[in-house]
Symmetry: C2
Subunit: 311 residues, 2 copies
């Protein structure tokens, strides 16, 4: 009987579940849109339903446990959610206990940035490294840290909120309620917003001229077609990412920085400028830290959640 | 025979050595001004000389080893200094090997911020904590991190350079060569420079009016005497410290933040504003992290270096 882990990635948009082998291989997966406003009972039913459906596909598999990646910050030492901005009704909800009630297997709970870092560390681009930083650049910016061969969890298991490191004093408003955060400048959301702002005042650019709303993908597409403004915006984005990464390198001295999330689909376009920024702004001893693309693509968190079971 | 450790704090201004008991108690100490421009041979002689002098005072003690705190960044995995800005001639110098040659005892080498963090963790304000951040605010800003009950060293043992986290994009020039660093805004040096800048244009303040150059201490003194500009400058300093600390709290989720260094002599004056800043700018789940004064005062690094021997 093949021993497997069940990984669940609870996100604000999608609930995803997977059966994962000990080598981090995906055996089966399923997903559905998160019923984000329906409250925790409904969301937990979605999770049970997805997992049951997957297990029915192959009764010969022996699941050892369930690992759940959750949007945060969630206190993973108590398992109680205090407030999940992207999901309604989770304030004070005993998330781990309620998940445990639904499964006959041990349940582990982890903040999403940390889950993804674990995925990349055990099975992805950071495999074999003792010190790594994972950063996801998407709607927001999150992350997770491995240091000295151990997952850095901190008090309440809430370490790794790298998106809420302010890089501009009293800068742009951030969804977290503060100002100037890395997320408020370098997330996919911030990138698209900046593009919309400047495109309106630029006669040359094709951005926004075809009647379609400007999004991150459209900017990269325009950039590839030679649009000067789009390319300037992309270079600025890479520079902002480089600044945040340099900060983290100085604080944590990783062997490697792994970038995931939606914007990492354009890693090859962003990478040279990120590199250039680190070489320019980091202290000499830190300049050679490699920045690489997530090896598990959009599955870092899902596979990382399953990896909790094998850890 | 009492077993003891020898701690050495090699600084750009002073070389200090101490005999330290297993409870972190200072049994004897000695110091002299660092001959910072004379090159490594001379500086290492200063260390040997200080240590020999201390050991001669009580031949009944049994030293177990020598722990050395060094300004960085130094690669403590190889023990080779690449460049120490405050000391001449250390580029490429095999610091640990050369120290080892001078002692018949095991020698440990540690970056100064990490040493001080270890001192506060084992014997100071962070005793009993598994997750702490130590920050020294002095000429520059340095630090060290303990996470999950372990010292966070990172690649080359160079983690904890928290002073070189940029908080202002393209801001003030920093001695590290980059711009906008926490150190360039919130160090004692930056504080005094800001005071000199604004005092010149302020008719009401007493700062700089008595013919004496303005330094950090003078600003705090004027503040206590009711000088409005001095108090505004101090409040701004506390706010800047609070911003940097909030960033680190989000990244590392510590149980406690310990502040040392020269400016921490004014901890009681700075603390309420630092607290206020964290409560205002941190995400709700992180707002209650305590910020405390270093328990070992100016000896955090010296005692932390000795603690390396007992670890």
């Amino acid at each position: 009987m093949q021993q497997i882990a069940i990984g669940v990635d609870l996100g604000g948009t999608q609930v995803r579940a997977a059966l994962v082998g000990e080598a981090g291989n995906l055996l089966a997966q399923a997903s559905e849109p998160t019923d984000a406003m329906a409250g925790p009972e409904r969301v937990l039913s979605q999770i049970s339903h997805l997992v049951e459906g997957l297990l029915e596909t192959d009764r010969s598999l022996q699941p050892l446990g369930v690992g759940v990646s959750t949007p945060g910050p969630v206190d993973t030492t108590t398992g109680i959610a205090s407030d999940i901005p992207t999901l309604a009704g989770f304030d004070g909800f005993p998330l781990r206990a309620e998940l445990q009630r639904r499964f006959d297997l041990p349940v582990s709970l982890e903040n999403d940035g940390i889950s993804a870092a674990i995925g990349e560390w055990r099975y992805g681009a950071g495999k074999g490294c003792d010190d790594l930083i994972y950063i996801t650049v998407s709607t927001g910016i999150g992350g997770g840290i491995v240091s000295g061969g151990r997952v850095l969890r901190g008090r309440k298991g809430m370490a790794g909120h790298v998106g809420h490191m302010a890089i501009v004093l009293d800068g742009e408003a951030c969804p977290c309620g503060s100002r100037g955060c890395f997320e408020a400048y370098a997330s996919g959301t911030a990138f698209a917003r900046r593009a919309r702002l400047v495109a309106a005042g630029d006669a040359q650019t094709k951005l926004g001229k075809n009647g379609k709303p400007i999004d991150s993908r459209g900017v990269f597409l325009a950039g590839r077609e030679g649009d000067a403004l789009a390319n300037r915006l992309i270079d600025e984005e890479a520079e902002l990412l480089g600044r945040g990464i340099t900060n983290l390198i100085h604080i944590l001295s990783p062997e490697i920085v792994v970038i995931g999330g939606g914007l990492a689909n354009e890693f090859d376009r962003l990478h040279p400028r990120i590199r250039d920024c680190i070489s320019r702004t980091a202290m000499p001893a830190f300049r050679d830290v490699p920045v690489v693309h997530a090896g598990l693509g959009q599955n870092s968190g899902l596979i990382g959640a399953a990896a909790l079971v094998f850890l």
